[in-house]
Symmetry: C2
Subunit: 224 residues, 2 copies
């Protein structure tokens, strides 16, 4: 008696154990499902179906639905952070560096709608899961550093207004970038305005960049 079976379709079928692949597969599908439908809206059975493995494996590796959700949330944060890479702002003038930083942040949000949705969902849950995750906090701790550096340089050259805090600046930039993705549907519908259209996205991007610059740069350096 050999250890392999013959499947219904006639192909030889030998089970391979590949824990890493199986877990990655589950995470991939789970992240998409949770991001699309939320914690309560996503269905374990549906996640299992879209996986190459079975529901059994989900519970084997991830214990229960909430743990799976938390892992998916962590994965989302990890992925966007990894994508960020290096901006290389140090060789730019402070104003241009800030401009580039804002432009990048705005674009980065646009490119990661699934991540935005996960964050929205998590906020609906009052941040109950992110609270438990030390991983996520540690990931994001240094997110303000680059902005901090640019701002300090701008202060030294005398181009930036003093008295601002990097964290609060980051908050402003995040708000504008986040809202652009998170509230597309309702805003477009209410004002009968296709926010998604490329031309309008460009407009918004330049508005946002301009707005931040005008807030940080000394007014006398800004042309009307």
């Amino acid at each position: 008696m050999t250890t392999h079976k013959v499947a219904a379709n006639g192909k030889e079928r030998t089970r391979k154990n590949d824990p890493v692949r199986v877990q990655a597969d589950i995470m991939r599908v789970a992240t998409r499902e949770f991001s699309e439908k939320g914690l309560s809206g996503a269905r374990i059975d549906e996640i299992a179906e879209k996986t190459k493995t079975s529901k059994r494996m989900i519970y084997y590796y991830f214990k229960d639905k909430e743990t799976l959700y938390l892992k998916a949330l962590e994965r989302s944060y990890q992925q966007v952070r990894q994508q960020e890479g290096e901006l290389e702002l140090d060789h730019l003038e402070p104003i241009q560096a800030l401009s580039k930083l804002v432009a990048f942040t705005f674009e980065h949000h646009i490119k990661n709608p699934d991540f935005i949705r996960m964050v929205m969902i998590e906020n609906i849950h009052h941040g109950r899961f992110i609270e438990q995750s030390e991983l996520i906090q540690s990931l994001n701790a240094g997110a303000v550093d680059e902005l901090q550096k640019v701002y300090r340089r701008g202060l030294e050259t005398g181009q930036f207004r003093p008295g601002l805090e990097a964290l609060e600046l980051h908050w402003l930039i995040s708000a504008l970038s986040f809202f652009n993705v998170s509230n597309r549907y309702t805003f477009s519908r209410i004002f009968n305005w296709d926010q998604n259209a490329a031309s309008n996205q460009e407009k918004l991007a330049s508005h946002v960049i301009d707005m931040v610059l005008r807030y940080v740069v000394k007014p006398e350096l800004m042309a009307d």
Copy 2:
């Protein structure tokens, strides 16, 4: 044989028909539940329990869960619009009028977290329900008008920069006001910063107002 019964607790119990009250009761509870847990997270049985009436009545008046959700969404929009009342900006200088408008919008969002949550949830659903609602669209059509008026007046006095559009300005103000409520939990957690604290809320409010003013008002009129 009379038409009334005696309940178990001994009190006389005569059923009163009060359709308006019953519907209002259901709507009140449903709105809170959906806002708290989302469409898929909210439970009809739980809504029914928290109501003075029964599950039967929910289906009697609202057909099914999705219809109930849509009605709750519409109610949310209606309520916030009603609260807005009159700002009476016409007698103010353009700069002060704009300042007051932004301050009010920011505050108004803070006062209506349930509404914010409903909008977040609706965006998670890709705006599938708001699309069906002509009521909501009609409600919000004139939301930009006041801003429009102020901006025009500022142009006339020469205090505002030309070339901006009221809708896009409204978008910027909304983004900052909305994000302040919608992303509290994740932002606070990630940056270990109590965004909710009164002192920080005040800071953010003045940042937002200042930021909008610096964007709209001609730079030479802004002191450092």
